[in-house]
């Protein structure tokens, strides 16, 4: 993976020193909270319901073992012994004291970690395919381009006060694991007819209170021009995006109001005038970045592991884990191992410091020193030898990290909700736990198959409910928590927004209603369909009838 050089590191040190002075000015009373707010937000420090929350960036979701151990140390020393991985593939610490924040920044910087641009109306962390570099059929490695974007967007002088926050995703396979069409910019790497590398550029997707599946504004952008083209998009947005209403300030609103063609025309006109040689990375810098990602030395191994197959026959739990949590690796004899942070009764995305240490050790011993964070709030060991899977499974299992439910009903995305967040209308975590308990039986979960349940505690949609196969949105009805259900959403390559099922249901009724929806699915399912496929085939009616049926 990419390792910081002196230049990268100096920027973290300089930022950390600047932040320490700003906190001193706040603690001494020189700055009021109002004056301090924009400064702390630029460093990922939010004031939440109970305490300060610090959001630490995990650039394009890639961590080394040392970095994960550093996060564990922060969790232990400055928080309550755990952290929360987010749908932006960042990590949040929810119980931070302001006076500790500068020391935390310094500690993070020792392992090349930081909180730069994890909040504010600037370019945020890029989402990349969590299987990047490990999955077959990649047009190219998304990490190379995500690192180029990281550098270009860090403290960009022109684009640090945008109309609203700005998020990008880079993906390179036919299956999209980044929700690219739901980002401000989605970048799909492709090979052209002559094998040349390029991007399909998707702009103006998004969730929140006005969800859009983003349209394509350019079918094929030569890859070397990525940064100049992004400059053109950001400049059009910075100049023309609405600033009168925070809810209409995202680029999706601009793209929708101008129309895809007119927006694309403005971007192309701007791009034509940009001096590309000043902005685009030269070939030698791209080669330097690319080199940092192609160092993993894989052994030549047979495609199947006798050792693993024998262990699977002897241990049903291992067998189930392999079936549900392993993905095929591009190199024979290796696997992508998904680590679920969705044990029944767990808080989705929460990970204790001890668990982080276990995963870091496994990455070091068995996984080429790499860990990935997924936008579905799980972790990944992307490069594990099949022969080593029994040991990895045993260690994960001992740490409560071997829940075999990747992509299944219990693998729920949920925002922090009313338990932590000042914006929320309703709780999200206990809803996830209640549903998780109903589908904790692994045989039932496997029978149901792929099912993406996503829960947001308010219309800001941090839990991505619009693109859940089943989406759950917390609403406030006269001071009581109610939940609106949507069906048929997807954030993947077949992106779509869910349809509202009907009237919102009360807190206690959510899990039973979900159970009845699953019952209706199993009744109408054909040929092992996914929930989403059945819904798309039969429509809303049978699900609606089932969900609102009472017990009588």
């Amino acid at each position: 993976m990419y390792r910081y050089d002196e230049i990268d590191r100096s920027i973290l040190e300089d930022r950390s020193a600047e932040f320490r002075r700003q906190v001193e000015r706040r603690l001494s009373g020189e700055l009021t909270e109002d004056q301090f707010k924009p400064l702390r937000l630029m460093n990922g420090l939010y004031l939440q319901l109970h305490a300060y929350m610090l959001r630490v960036a995990i650039p394009y979701g890639v961590l080394s073992a040392a970095q994960l151990r550093r996060l564990a140390q922060i969790a232990r020393t400055y928080d309550k012994g755990y952290g929360h991985f987010t749908t932006r593939t960042n990590i949040q610490f929810h119980w931070i004291k302001l006076r500790d924040a500068p020391d935390i920044m310094d500690a993070l910087a020792k392992d090349d970690l930081h909180a730069i641009q994890t909040s504010g109306n600037c370019i945020r962390n890029t989402t990349a395919d969590p299987y990047a570099g490990a999955i077959a059929d990649e047009a190219d490695d998304p990490r190379v381009w995500s690192e180029a974007i990281r550098q270009w967007s860090t403290r960009h002088p022109e684009f640090s006060f945008l109309p609203r926050k700005f998020k990008m995703a880079v993906t390179a396979t036919p299956q999209d694991r980044t929700a690219a069409r739901m980002h401000d910019i989605g970048l799909q790497l492709r090979r052209g007819r002559e094998g040349e590398l390029g991007f399909e550029v998707i702009v103006g997707g998004g969730l929140g209170r006005t969800p859009y599946v983003g349209p394509t504004i350019r079918e094929f952008l030569p890859a070397r021009h990525l940064l100049s083209y992004l400059t053109a998009i950001l400049r059009v947005f910075n100049r023309a995006g609405r600033r009168d209403n925070a809810y209409k300030a995202r680029i999706k609103i601009l793209v929708a109001s101008l129309g895809r063609e007119e927006f694309a025309r403005q971007v192309e006109a701007e791009w034509d005038q940009i001096d590309k040689a000043r902005v685009d990375l030269p070939a030698d810098e791209l080669a330097r970045i690319r080199g940092a990602f192609s160092t993993a030395a894989f052994e030549t191994l047979p495609p199947a592991s006798e050792r693993l197959e024998a262990a699977r026959r002897a241990d049903g739990d291992l067998d189930r884990f392999v079936r549900n949590n392993l993905g095929p690796h591009k190199v024979a004899g290796y696997a992508i191992v998904n680590v679920s942070l969705k044990a029944p009764d767990a808080v989705p995305g929460d990970c204790s410091a001890d668990q982080m240490d276990v995963i870091a050790d496994l990455a070091e011993r068995f996984g080429h020193d790499e860990i990935r964070v997924t936008h579905e709030q799980n972790l990944v060991l992307p490069n594990v030898k099949l022969d080593d899977v029994p040991e990895v499974f045993a260690a994960l299992d001992a740490a409560g990290l071997a829940t075999p439910n990747i992509g299944l009903a219990g693998d729920i995305i949920a925002c922090p909700g009313l338990d932590y967040c000042a914006l929320a209308n309703a709780r999200a975590i206990p809803i996830a736990q209640a549903i998780g308990r109903r589908f904790a039986d692994p045989e039932l979960a496997e029978k149901i198959g792929e099912l993406k349940i996503k829960i947001s505690g308010c219309i800001n949609a941090c839990g991505h409910h619009h693109v859940g196969h089943i989406g759950i949105l917390g609403v406030d009805k006269k001071g009581e928590e109610f939940y609106q259900l949507t069906l048929g959403g997807s954030g993947a390559e077949d992106a779509s927004l869910g349809d509202v099922l009907g009237p919102a249901v009360a807190y206690a009724e959510v899990a039973p209603a979900i159970e009845r929806l699953i019952g209706a699915f199993l009744e109408h399912r054909q040929d092992g369909e996914r929930f989403l496929d059945t819904y798309r085939r039969v429509g809303l009616a049978p699900f609606k009838a089932a969900a609102y049926a009472t017990a009588d």
Binding site: R3, D5, E6, I7, D8, R9, S10, I11, D14, R15, A17, E18, P38, L39, N121, Q151, W152, T154, R155, H156, P157, E158, F159, S160, F161, L162, P163, R235, N238, R239, R243, Q273, D275, R278, V279, L281, P282, D284, E285, R288
Partner: protein, 178 residues
Amino acid sequence: MPRLIKLNDGRPQWADDDFVSLEDGEPSPMLGFGSASGVILSLARFQSEREAWFACGREVGVRLEPDEAVEDIADDLSRLALVALAFPKFRDGRAYSAAALLRERYGFKGEIRAVGEVLRDQADFMIRCGFDAYEPADGSTPEDWNRAEHRFRHVYQAAADDLSPAFRERAASPPRRS
């Protein structure tokens, strides 16, 4: 009136303001003032009185609000001494694009002045985008601006200033891994 800070050979320093801002309704003192003093006009006033002002021999500047496009003054830039770009709120970042376009696209060599809610915490972004004069709204001094300008030793992007982006620095001398 906020005091004026200007870049002098790249260093922020207190400066005398050689320009007066004329409100739209104010009478035109084209002939009544000493010719040393320049004027700053709104875009609307500049567009209706442009030739008279250029003819009177005084230095002419235009103030652009964030929703006014630099393209509207592109043909006049060679005759303009100053463009003032307004920050009605510090969070309104449109003027950064305006300054970048003036310097990088139109090669404007005159003064680009930041007016409005101009804060020291934005100093290095402004300097990088090509602003070279500032009316700070937070009581900050040239020393504050100098500190802000040099807070970061390296940058990642080429901008309107002459700092070399990281990718050029790396090409010039391959950095050591530390």
